[in-house]
Symmetry: C2
Subunit: 304 residues, 2 copies
């Protein structure tokens, strides 16, 4: 089924103890679309870039069957840039700079042909813009949304309003705690459900992800990687794999939501194995499916 | 098969945001033996208490078919006491006091009748004492050992020597990192395997536990509890459930090690639901098995 992705398109400068990249293609809409593109096509991308956005990036996205009719190009402006540094313990990261540039006044316009999208993924942008996107779309079958500490702290009321329109909220553990003032993650997830979303997914980095609905809890492990090169984009890759699988299968049963979590975890695991989107470049549906099966071996046990 | 447990017997004073207990029965040997006792009997306990150790505690342990021939009573001394306070976020704990008392000069003597124990669980005590215990035992089928930051930091060489005699090392994530100077937990586990143990289990509290061998990785979730009253003893309960199941079944295959990890996680989940050992008091093998099956539902998924 058709999938619409809205979020940032960025040029990332990243330093880790294992190397660095400058102005690499990134941003939530790029990671989500690229990952979802392994499952369903075309993925409709809505975002904004400046006149400095390289043709090679456009070509890469097009090669992934990502529909760029919704990508605004502000020729006079510059593309959103983010710089970060990861420590030896990759759970710790410093933001070195954030240059919003054209993203500062991003006004997501949904092309006419996108309005009937069945699946919508709202990347981590201002909750007001997230709602603005939804107001331009015919009633979608599933809305998946992301958010972050910044919006939880600065626009709690707007976010609460937007959350009422989401079917699935994907957050990490610290965001779930911040949003609910509740240290217990299961309680936090249940509070979030009372705020609107029917499904909450709490990402826990190296500890995996937990899906919570009114009557289901599913604990997915993280793939045990010995070498993680760059955690940038892992959360967005998770969201892309998750919604990509659902858009492909158009099955929202609890069992299929669980599979979607594992596909999300699978894409996140490939993402962090290389810098920027490099870990997603030479990926295939077959490799993805192989790793999906490794996840089975990882967590399966039986009775005696 | 016969099981020997060596560790501390303590009186714990614990404060949490939900209440407090004073001089409650605790200590690694008590939690391990009580939990293992649901699977196999008798469990042979080696430890030391003072003249102030209440008859009701002795009666409780005996009611669990724990053999106390190896429990030394130093009538002139006082029992080891520990006091701690947990914060609202139960992952954070302050030690309020540690009174070693008779435990300071604990000299574990293995009764003649214990020397042929097939399964041995070395609770978290001085690595020199752990080795001293093993030197008194005929070649056991499996040695499971625990340790802590304190020994890793103060007796690294002694600990390294003792680890060579262990088949399974159970540590938490921060201990694994401290022991190996490696932030990646999978790499840390593999380094530990090169130090001696054939099996490493890394406990991650609310994030579950990971079992690593030379050729297997198994990720077990934690049971999703909304109400955790007192985390004291969770790690020892895990060890008790783990070795108890193995001693019962005497099967060291990878599949059975995985089941043992789930039984360990099951016992830990019951332990933290009430104060002190109260969560283990009204437990039955049937309740344990029911929760084991809930763990299946929690992590199971299939292909489409």
């Amino acid at each position: 089924m058709s999938l619409l992705v809205v979020g940032s398109v960025a040029l990332d400068t990243v330093e880790t103890p294992f190397g660095e990249v400058k102005d690499a293609l990134g941003g939530s809409a790029v990671y989500i679309s690229t990952c979802a593109g392994f499952f369903t096509a075309p993925v409709r991308l809505v975002g904004v870039v400046g006149g400095d956005f390289l043709e090679e990036h456009v070509q890469f996205l097009e090669s992934r069957h990502i529909d760029l009719d919704g990508l605004q190009v502000m020729k006079e402006g510059k593309t959103f840039r983010w710089g970060g540094r990861y420590h030896y313990d990759l759970n710790v990261r410093d933001t070195l700079f954030t240059q919003l540039n054209v993203f500062e006044h991003f006004d997501p316009k949904i092309p006419e042909g996108y309005r009937a999208s069945g699946y919508v993924c709202l990347g981590n942008i201002d909750p007001i813009l997230q709602r603005q996107v939804l107001s331009q779309i015919n009633k979608p079958r599933l809305v998946v949304g992301d958010t972050m500490n910044y919006w939880i702290e600065t626009k709690p009321k707007e976010l609460a309003e937007t959350m009422k329109t989401m079917d699935v909220l994907i957050v990490n553990d610290s965001e779930a705690r911040l949003l609910t003032h509740e240290p217990n993650l299961i309680k936090a997830a249940k509070r979030i459900i009372r705020m609107g979303p029917k499904v909450v997914i709490i990402k826990k980095g190296e500890h995996g992800a937990t899906l919570v609905t009114d009557d289901t809890i599913f604990a997915a492990p993280a793939y045990p990687l010995e070498n993680i090169f760059d955690p940038t984009g892992a959360g967005d890759s998770f969201a892309g794999g998750f919604i990509g699988w659902l858009a492909r299968t158009d099955d929202l049963s609890p069992d299929n939501l669980k599979r979607a979590v594992i596909y999300g975890s699978t894409l996140a695991s490939f993402c962090v194995e290389k810098f920027s989107i490099d870990g997603l470049k030479d990926l295939s549906y077959l490799k993805i499916h192989d790793r999906f099966r490794s996840f089975m071996d990882l967590s399966r046990f039986d009775e005696r």
